[in-house]
Amino acid sequence: MNQNNFHILLIEDDAAVAQSLQDGLEREGFATTWKASGVEGIEYARMHNPHLIVLDIRLPDGSGLDFCRQMRQSKLHQPILMLTVQREEIDKVLGLEMGADDYMTKPYSLRELLSRVRALLRRSYGELATINSNDIIYVADMVLDRASGQVSRGNESLNLTPIEFRLLSFFAQNRGQALSRQQILDAVWGYSADVESDRTVNVHIRRLREKIELDPSQPQIILTVPGIGYRLAG
């Protein structure tokens, strides 16, 4: 997935926010265009068909939600990431019902925003591009290359040990399914399962989280299932 091929449209009225975001995205290798109003943004999207649109919910010429709906009505199908300051559930629901694909609340962490952008792009374009490769596994916004044993997030490579890589791969193969510690021991540690204990699993999971989670104190990728074991989110 070459991020240089992706063109992202930013519709955001605040110049300071837009410019810092542009900087962040461009440094990741994305091409960006910034429009400060909804009308301009839609017009630009119609003409240039960007790969992804980051849309602020509060714009000088109207609500981002209305522009989102207008874009969907005019057959613009690219992923839309809404930016909002209201944390309320209603915004989330409305944003998604209006056709948005994801939302983030301001202030956001740049890392997390980039992670969401990558995940949206991969979901819309990435997996199609690598449809023939059985060696590539996607977990959240990470790419696992089974041939090389490498895990990357954007341009960044994550240094996982072989056990951690096997652990993450095993989760990826059983996406969303709760796995018991015994299952994990059998699958990841294999023959040595009988000498390892549940505690080993806990320790490895914790270390893996510290490497792959955006905020390791608030895990979002590998979740503990009380009374059972673990599962990979999504």
């Binding site: 300071a16 926010v17 410019q19 900087d23 440094r27 309320e88 956001y108 503990t224």
Partner: protein, 572 residues
């Protein structure tokens, strides 16, 4: 409807007022009637007493034997329907006619004579109370055909010849009758049963006697059938309780004795009774009508009040646009209008506040977003401790802003999402993976204890999640590695209890009372990051859900208990 509602109270008051009015009116009316008739009864006795007094006085003066006087008085008592008692000068009772009892028997004696003058029709009347033969004494009056004159005749000693219970047996000697009665029967027919006698002067042939049982009625006498049983004609007319005592004296004003007249006819009693009966019925109807009127009026009163209550309930629940639609010109209308003016003001204030909070959130978050993004860009290009510290402070500022705005939003009740049925158990279960993961990353055991059944609460799921995560995050934050965080939910009575317990550093007793105040942090919490707003927000949310929160702490941990009202499961 509750018994102490206006609707019932007003209805009962109306009925009670009507009842009191009817009672008062009835009492006055009956009192006046009774008095009026009592006076009449008294007058009647008084006028009789005057005449009878005169008669007895003259009898005393002429030394008429008591038994003769008694029979006279008994007849008078029957005719005037009063009880007559005669007292001597010492107050001893000489004669008592007794309570006028019936039936009496009236006998007519007819005599025919060819020699009798044509213009005279005569009859004799014998009045005797039956069943009291010993006391019987006949008296004969001769009535001229014109009915103008009474002539008392002294009968001789009664003889004892009986011919049947209903017929009069002791009859006056024909001799004395024949001396007086002249004339013929009105009908010219002879009655069998008492045949003629030896006339003293050959002029009169005694012929017949016919007898009628008589009963006394209030307004006169009634003639019964000849062989009727006395019981049928028992006097049922009520007797007056009035009594007249008059002193008898001779022409020289010497006291001779006294007479007492009592038990006269009670003319008023039937009228009073029927008036009382009518009044009771009218009073009952009046009370019912008053109750109905009270119900109607109270409906008129309570309906707008209930509507107003409904509006306040909706406004309390957050629908500030509700207004009272009461178009009345009275005090309630004024109340509704001033209520609406007040509601306008409240809505305006709340909307202004909500708008301010929303604007403030946007205006504060926008520069913070730019600041944070720029710091993160610099940090990734030229990492330095100073930039990291600045970044930490931006995040701190951001959290503080966020918490303050959240608190304002909750307190201004500007959450746009309406309250809904939430299964708190489901909410906890779906969030428990995140809590368990967080606890695990802090090397803590996480225990979850939930009942199988649903835990329904009426509330906002987003806010309830904030309560849960604030409490669990606090427990994780203040518990050293190796400890345990327990999340437990249970129901009792109509409440739901949510308990978050840890084995952490605890809260000093002195800090417990201020724990939920803004910016208050326990003294031993200074090593841990935090704004001091988390528990204030938690409490505000719990309060907005009509619940309560309490903290207990000791050296080996803290227990936070949230109590929320349990909602009934939605129908269907």
């Amino acid at each position: 409807m509750r018994a102490h509602s206006i609707r019932w109270r007003l209805t009962l008051s109306y009925a009670a007022i009507a009842c009191l009015a009817a009672l008062a009116l009835g009492a006055v009316l009956l009192g006046i009637l009774r008095r009026h008739y009592a006076i009449q009864e008294r007058d009647y006795l008084a006028s009789n007493a005057e005449s009878i007094g005169a008669l007895v006085s003259s009898a005393f003066a002429e030394d008429v034997p008591i038994n003769l006087l008694q029979s006279q008085l008994e007849n008078l008592a029957f005719i005037s329907k009063v009880r007559i008692r005669v007292l001597d000068i010492q107050g001893q009772e000489l004669i008592d006619t007794g309570i006028p009892t019936d039936p009496y028997v009236m006998s007519f004696l007819y005599a025919t004579s060819d020699q009798a003058p044509d213009d005279l029709g005569s009859g004799s009347i014998l009045l005797n109370p039956p069943g009291e033969p010993a006391a019987m004494s006949g008296s004969v009056h001769v009535l001229g055909a014109e009915g103008s004159e009474w002539q008392p005749v002294n009968p001789a000693e009664p003889t004892t010849a009986t011919s049947g219970p209903s017929l009069v047996d002791p009859f006056v000697p024909q001799a004395s009758v024949s001396g007086i009665i002249t004339g013929r029967t009105a009908t010219g027919e002879q009655e069998a049963g008492f045949s003629g006698s030896a006339p003293a002067d050959g002029q009169i042939i005694m012929d017949a006697v016919s007898a009628f049982p008589l009963s006394s009625a209030l307004f006169g006498f009634a003639v019964g059938s000849g062989n009727a049983s006395p019981a049928i004609n028992v006097d049922t007319a009520p007797r007056s309780d009035q009594q007249i005592t008059s002193v008898l004296s001779d022409a020289n004003h010497n006291r001779l004795g006294g007479i007492i007249l009592s038990d006269g006819p009670a003319y008023g009693s039937e009228i009073v009774t029927s008036v009382a009966r009518g009044w009771l019925m009218a009073g009952g109807i009046a009370v019912l009508l008053a109750a109905a009127a009270g119900w109607f009026v109270s409906r008129q009163l309570s309906k707008p009040l209930l509507a107003l209550t409904d509006v306040t309930a909706h406004m309390t629940a957050g629908d500030l646009s509700r207004r009272a639609a009461i178009a009345r010109q009275d005090e309630i209308g004024t109340l509704a209008r001033s209520f609406n003016v007040m509601a306008d003001r409240i809505e305006e204030t709340v909307i202004t506040l909500q708008r301010f909070v929303a604007d403030a959130a946007h205006e504060l978050h926008t520069p913070l977003t730019a600041l944070r993004t720029n710091l993160e860009l610099v940090q990734s290009e030229h990492p330095s401790a100073a930039i990291r510290r600045a970044h930490d402070q931006v995040i701190r500022l951001e959290k503080l802003t966020d918490s303050l705005l959240t608190l304002s939003r909750i307190e201004a009740q500007s959450d746009p999402s309406p309250a809904e049925w939430v299964d708190l158990g489901g909410l906890i279960r779906s969030a428990s993976e995140l809590y368990a993961s967080r606890a695990e990353q802090s090397e803590l055991a996480f225990e979850l204890s939930l009942p199988e059944h649903a835990l329904p609460v009426l509330g906002r799921p987003g806010q309830l999640e904030v309560v849960l995560s604030n409490l669990v995050d606090n427990a994780i934050k203040f518990t050293p590695a190796g400890g345990t965080v327990t999340l437990c939910a249970r129901t009792f009575d109509q409440a739901l209890e949510l308990i978050v317990q840890d084995t952490g550093i605890g809260i000093p007793p002195g800090d417990l009372p201020l724990l939920f105040e803004r910016f208050r942090r326990a003294r031993n919490a200074s090593d841990h990051p935090g704004s001091g707003l988390g528990l204030a927000i938690t409490k505000a949310i719990v309060k907005a859900h009509s619940g309560s929160i309490a903290a207990e702490s000791s050296g080996n941990g803290t227990k936070m208990t949230v109590t929320l009202p349990l909602a009934r499961l939605p129908q269907g």
